[in-house]
């Protein structure tokens, strides 16, 4: 399979179609510009969500109450989670999809370019609503509470006891859902309909495959989340009894609906990571991916299984024994396809001519640390053991290992890998090394000790803790501030790239194989690429 149109692109290397000024960004129909908007937006949300996390860690640095009151602390844990999940990680992956999927499959743009821009521009408005509630809580008259029920917004905390801001939160979740569904539909349609001639499904890069499957998950579960928050809204204001046992409903019903969305959501945040890492490792190991087809099937299996494991979040809530056993075994089954992936990456690296440029460093760190997070997940899947771990810092450690040193690390890997293509300059190596090592060390200082305090019984979502946890929590907080500051290095790296300051990037800076279409176009990628589809042999 070879792209025969490399020389062809020079004709298209012009910018006469590119609109200028504010209009270019506000009214865009260009997948690259919209991708850039998504990526900057998600990075801004990453910093805001990080700031909220640092409020949490500042409070927990020492035992006792020092920085904020417990009510505000609860708002911090809630909005930190929501901003990171819906504002940072998901839009970052949509940004990567926007930039890379058309380039990878030889398409001129996303299939529905105007809808693409709509799905982006909904997000800043949705997060204005969510974040304004925090600002009002911090600085507003009478300090009206922001959402304070945890990012899972369990009933009755969010119904009977939810603050007034819950209603606006519900509407902002609806907006995020609309945005995600439109973005996902766009990805599915682009992949099915706009592949270059000869780009069969089983020739698609794995990043495209994993995103296609992710998009299915999004279209399937975001509407369920919309249903859940709608029931919340009517329970709060229109007298319905979905989550009230007095009327014949059940608060546990909320958890079932939420996690029917929530567990696929977890994979929505990790499957594109698998695609990124599967794109990067073969390039820097200079070998083909060990098992392409098995990676595709493993991804699809994980996605299917994600629909039948949701109640493992609810073992301590109680359900019939058969249900408990079913969800336990199904959950453990997921480690099989996940293992297929991890072994695949290892086998790809085995006896490769490996070099360790920045994207590869992040990718290897991803493989190791994500596996750590996966293994603690396997521990949590075992029902009787989960009774001990549930709602402790062990859970916090688990999902931060998969989301921060998993998803976020893969996004960083992707950024360092593709920044030359996006900006035309190589990311600054010295700052990049500093960013990587600083993040790697701090992320482990931040999250590894959480396993210990969790196993020892420290509950999550409390503003204070017993004295025996003090030493660990001090170092966790040091790790948190260190990790937070480290990400500012990346801000500098990204700004330097955006200002085109740095070594000029060739079209294929990483010596990627020629079937990776994104490297056949010049760096930076011209405003329009593949107006005429390349022919894949």
């Amino acid at each position: 399979m070879t792209a025969t149109t490399a020389e062809h692109h020079d004709h298209h290397d012009d910018h006469h179609h590119a609109p200028h000024g504010l209009k270019r960004w506000l009214f865009s129909t260009n997948h690259k510009d919209i991708g850039t908007l998504y990526l900057w937006f998600s990075f801004a949300m990453f910093l805001i969500g990080g700031l909220l996390a640092l409020v949490i860690r500042a409070e927990l640095m020492y035992p006792g109450m020092q920085v904020v009151d417990p009510e505000f602390f609860n708002q911090m844990t809630t909005v930190h989670g929501l901003v990171m999940v819906f504002g940072a990680i998901m839009p970052a992956f949509v940004g990567l999809a926007n930039w890379m999927i058309p380039l990878m499959i030889g398409a001129p743009d996303m299939a529905l370019p105007r809808m693409n821009n709509w799905s982006f521009w909904i997000l800043p408005f949705a997060f204005t609503i969510l974040i304004s509630s925090v600002l009002m809580s911090a600085f507003g008259e009478g300090n009206p509470s922001a959402p304070n029920f945890g990012w899972t917004f369990y009933a009755p905390l969010s119904t009977t006891y939810g603050p007034a801001s819950t209603d606006l939160f519900i509407l902002s979740v609806h907006m995020m859902g609309i945005s995600s569904i439109m973005g996902a539909i766009n990805v599915v349609v682009t992949v099915f309909n706009l592949r270059a001639p000869g780009m069969t499904m089983m020739k698609m890069p794995l990043f495209v495959w994993t995103w296609l499957i992710t998009a299915f998950l999004l279209v399937a579960v975001m509407p369920v989340l919309a249903g859940a928050v709608t029931m919340m809204l009517t329970d709060r204001h229109f007298g319905t009894s979905f989550f009230s046992a007095a009327g014949g409903g059940d608060p546990v019903l909320f958890q079932h609906i939420f996690w029917f969305f929530g567990h696929p959501e977890v994979y929505i945040m990790i499957l594109p990571s698998f695609g990124v890492v599967s794109s990067i490792i073969p390039v820097f190991a200079r070998k083909q991916l060990f098992g392409y087809a098995s990676m595709v099937y493993a991804t699809a299996s994980i996605a299917l299984l994600s629909f039948v494991v949701w109640a493992h979040h609810m073992f301590t809530v109680g359900m019939p024994l058969a249900g408990t056993l079913f969800f336990m075994y199904m959950t453990m089954l997921i480690s099989v396809p996940t293992g297929v992936k991890v072994f695949n990456w290892m086998a790809t690296m085995w006896r490769g001519s490996m070099t360790f440029e920045l994207p590869m460093k992040w990718a290897i760190a991803f493989v190791i640390l994500f596996t750590c997070g996966g293994l603690s997940g396997l521990m949590l899947a075992i029902t009787p053991v989960d009774f001990q771990y549930h709602d402790t810092y062990f859970v916090v450690a688990h999902f931060h290992y998969v989301l921060v040193s998993g998803a976020v690390f893969s996004i960083m890997a992707a950024a360092y890998y593709w920044l030359p293509k996006w900006s035309g300059v190589m990311p600054n190596k010295i700052l990049g090394e500093l960013h990587f090592w600083s993040s790697l060390l701090s992320v482990n200082l931040l999250f590894f000790p959480m396993h210990f305090v969790g196993l020892a019984g420290m509950p999550r979502r409390y503003a204070d803790y017993a004295l025996q946890f003090a030493d660990y929590n001090f170092w966790i907080s040091i790790g948190a501030f260190w990790f937070g500051v480290s990400q500012l290095i990346f801000l500098v790296v990204a700004i330097l790239c955006a200002m085109k300051k740095g070594e000029k990037a060739p079209a294929n800076p990483w010596d990627a194989p020629e079937e990776d279409l994104e490297w056949t176009v010049p760096s930076p990628a011209p405003f329009h690429t593949f107006d005429t589809p390349p022919v894949i042999k």
């Binding site: 009214f27 606006l168 204001h237 059940d250």
Partner: protein, 299 residues
């Protein structure tokens, strides 16, 4: 995959997506504040406040409708100038199919809630399984039954029967699907008179369905004690049929717009995707109704 000489049409920059986001923002802010200010928590009582937020909600809705009008005006122009050939037409089709799938999943959340309630919650509240003490300690007088006409805390209602209005409504929707298909075939066959007649009949049937649905709601509220506040049965009944009704409203508006576009001569034998999309949507609300009729009204 089409021939490479068929360039994929990428539209120029457009203000409507951003404008649509502003509309949604106004709707969210307006609705959030309006609901917050105008209802008493859990009391189902209107407080007649929050008119400012209400106007914002209304303005947002009008803004969004206006935006969509201009957005679709652009798309229709593109379609009439023949830009929707080839693969772009495929993108629209697939996009519509996945949109309908997302709608299916939205209803799935409410259907799932209904089955969970019927099969698990209500029996458990009645003491089934390992829940004898739950029943004994919380609501010893509670009887598990479906439809749940007496809630654990003693609110009473009547169950909506399956015959009468709901059965007539089922017939109306089924017939409307047939008339719509006749209209569609007439469009393909180029029989304009037949097309206009049957498209008009379909729109009228949609409106008639909604009219009867409102009648049924009035009957439920005023005579049966069946309200949103009547416990889980009323909650599920009104949310499922209500969201279905909203979708029928949307579908009827779509079919009405298609009717007007037919009168303006927008569609040809080959190029009438908007019409097909509206038809798919109508069949989707029809199928949802059949599930509703069987699971909510009948069984």
């Amino acid at each position: 995959m089409a021939e490479s000489n068929n360039k994929y049409y990428v539209p120029d920059s457009s203000p409507w997506p951003l404008s649509g986001s502003i509309g949604l923002f106004m709707i969210a802010l307006g609705a959030g504040n309006f609901i917050q200010q105008s209802t008493d928590f859990g009391q189902n009582v209107l407080k007649h406040q929050g008119t400012g937020a209400g106007y914002l909600l209304l303005a947002g809705a009008l803004w969004l409708i206006g935006t969509l009008f201009f957005w679709w005006r652009d798309t229709i122009k593109e379609s009439i100038t023949g830009l929707h050939e080839g693969r772009l037409s495929g993108s629209y089709r697939q996009g519509m199919i996945w949109f309908i799938f997302s709608e299916v999943m939205f209803f799935a959340a409410f259907f799932g809630a209904m089955f969970y309630t019927r099969w698990l919650i209500v029996p458990w509240l009645g003491g089934e399984g390992s829940n004898a003490m739950t029943h004994e300690l919380l609501w010893p007088n509670f009887q598990a039954m479906w439809p749940l006409t007496t809630t654990p805390d003693g609110r009473e209602t009547q169950a909506m029967g399956a015959w009468g209005l709901p059965a007539i409504n089922t017939a109306i929707l089924l017939v409307s699907s047939i008339t719509l298909t006749i209209a569609h075939h007439a469009l393909i066959a180029g029989e304009r008179g037949k097309l206009i007649l049957f498209q008009g009949i379909t729109v009228l049937l949609g409106i008639f369905f909604l009219f009867l649905q409102v009648e049924e709601y009035i009957h439920a509220y005023t005579e049966m004690g069946l309200t949103l506040n009547a416990g889980i049965y009323g909650s599920l009944f009104f949310m499922l049929t209500g969201f279905h009704g909203m979708h029928v409203t949307m579908g009827t508006i779509m079919l009405l717009i298609m009717f007007l576009r037919i009168l303006k001569g927008h569609f040809s034998k080959e190029n009438h995707f908007a019409y097909e999309a509206a038809a798919w949507y109508w069949h989707f609300v029809d199928v949802v109704w059949l599930f509703l009729y069987v699971c909510v009204y009948w069984l």
